[in-house]
């Protein structure tokens, strides 16, 4: 071990702190609870993104063209809220079970960026685009701004699902030899001090 100073990132320190908790290890090593949490996460992602996709397709003018947007959203909203709450809870539990590897996963980092982008898109939609909703609520094909927001929402969530799926693979894990780019993107230096 060389004498060069090693300063772990706050994220790495936080992940290490979580990793040191007995409940984190217990959840990860549980033969039944971990797979149940993982499966529930996938199923509720389907519920949430499925509901979202129907609303997005309506706003793109592809589905339920004769149904007002507000009617569709009010009917689907309870389902997507239920899906969202369980999806987020199980997602946090999955991170809690494997904190260090996940914090240093390039896929997880990419997924987090896509989630932030999806959240910004949703916020921007509610703030700007849906202000004059009454005007286009019943239109079979809503205005371009609405359609762009809907297309972005679908694209970003599809990306979130693919990136989330890829977290399972260990190609870019820090414990394997990695290119300088991957080592930088995954913050491997923090996990493997010189």
């Amino acid at each position: 071990m060389s004498a060069s100073p090693y300063e772990p990132s706050p994220l790495h320190a936080f992940a290490e702190w979580l990793d040191g908790q007995a409940w984190s290890t217990a959840l990860h090593e549980s033969l039944w609870v971990y797979p149940l949490v993982e499966s529930t996460h996938v199923l509720t992602v389907m519920l949430f993104v499925g509901m979202l996709a129907m609303v997005d397709l309506r706003m793109l003018g592809f589905a339920f063209r004769q149904t007002p947007v507000s009617e569709l959203t009010s009917r689907l909203l309870p389902w997507s809220v239920a899906g969202f709450v369980i999806m987020v809870t199980t997602g946090l539990l999955l991170f809690y079970a494997i904190p260090v590897r996940t914090a240093h996963s390039v896929w997880f980092r990419f997924k987090a960026m896509l989630l932030i982008a999806a959240a910004v898109n949703a916020w921007w939609f509610h703030r700007r685009v849906s202000r004059d909703r009454e005007r286009w609520d019943g239109q079979p094909q809503p205005p371009l701004g609405v359609r762009i927001a809907a297309a972005l929402s679908m694209g970003l969530w599809a990306g979130v699902i693919v990136a989330g799926r890829m977290i399972a693979y260990n190609w870019f894990d820090c414990e394997r030899p990695q290119s300088a780019f991957v080592a930088w993107a995954a913050g491997c230096a923090a996990e493997l001090p010189p």
Binding site: L60, F62, R165, E175, R176, P177
Partner: protein, 169 residues
């Protein structure tokens, strides 16, 4: 663009994403032997177990090996799934942290300090097969199921030879 075309164009990416998402919830580093480990790099590590990860799809035993120059290297030795090990009577506390072990295995192809563990030997001479059967690992005799199978094959061949001998007589 007609409605059907539009439907197909919009549903295809969703279907693709769903297929990717549901292609089986598979956890990290689940693989055939040849995808990850090199049969031409057999290794033996010896030292105390410093950490155990009792996780799917593979349990990992971290062993601190002392090198010839006196330096120490922690090797991550991959085992079978917790369930395979449990069925063989090995549980999480069978080999407590600090237990001195010798593990025969094969190093990973990327030459990192990870290896596929095959046979674990304890100081009292007891041996445990810690790997998985049927992954394509070299037939090194570590796997008792594989040994049993090859014994069957030998018996069959002996029986055949005996039959042939009788026919000749």
């Amino acid at each position: 663009m007609n409605v059907l075309q539009a439907r197909i164009q919009t549903t295809a990416p969703i279907a693709l994403a769903a297929m990717l998402a549901l292609g089986g919830v598979q956890a990290s580093a689940h693989h055939a032997f040849g995808a990850e480990f090199d049969p031409n790099r057999p290794i033996i590590v010896r030292g105390p177990v410093v950490k155990i990860e009792w996780t799917n799809p593979h349990a990992w035993f971290h062993v601190e090996h002392t090198n010839e120059d006196g330096s120490k290297t922690v090797w991550m030795m991959e085992a079978g799934t917790p369930n395979t090990l449990l069925r063989r009577g090995i549980h999480r506390n069978s080999v407590p942290i600090g237990t001195e072990v010798i593990i025969d295995g094969y190093q990973s192809k990327d030459l990192s300090n990870r290896a596929n563990g095959r046979q674990m030997t304890l100081v009292n001479g007891e041996t445990l097969f810690m790997g998985s059967s049927g992954t394509g690992a070299p037939r090194d005799g570590a796997d008792p199921i594989e040994r049993a199978r090859s014994e069957d094959v030998e018996k069959l061949e002996e029986a055949k030879a005996a039959d042939t001998a009788q026919d000749d007589g």
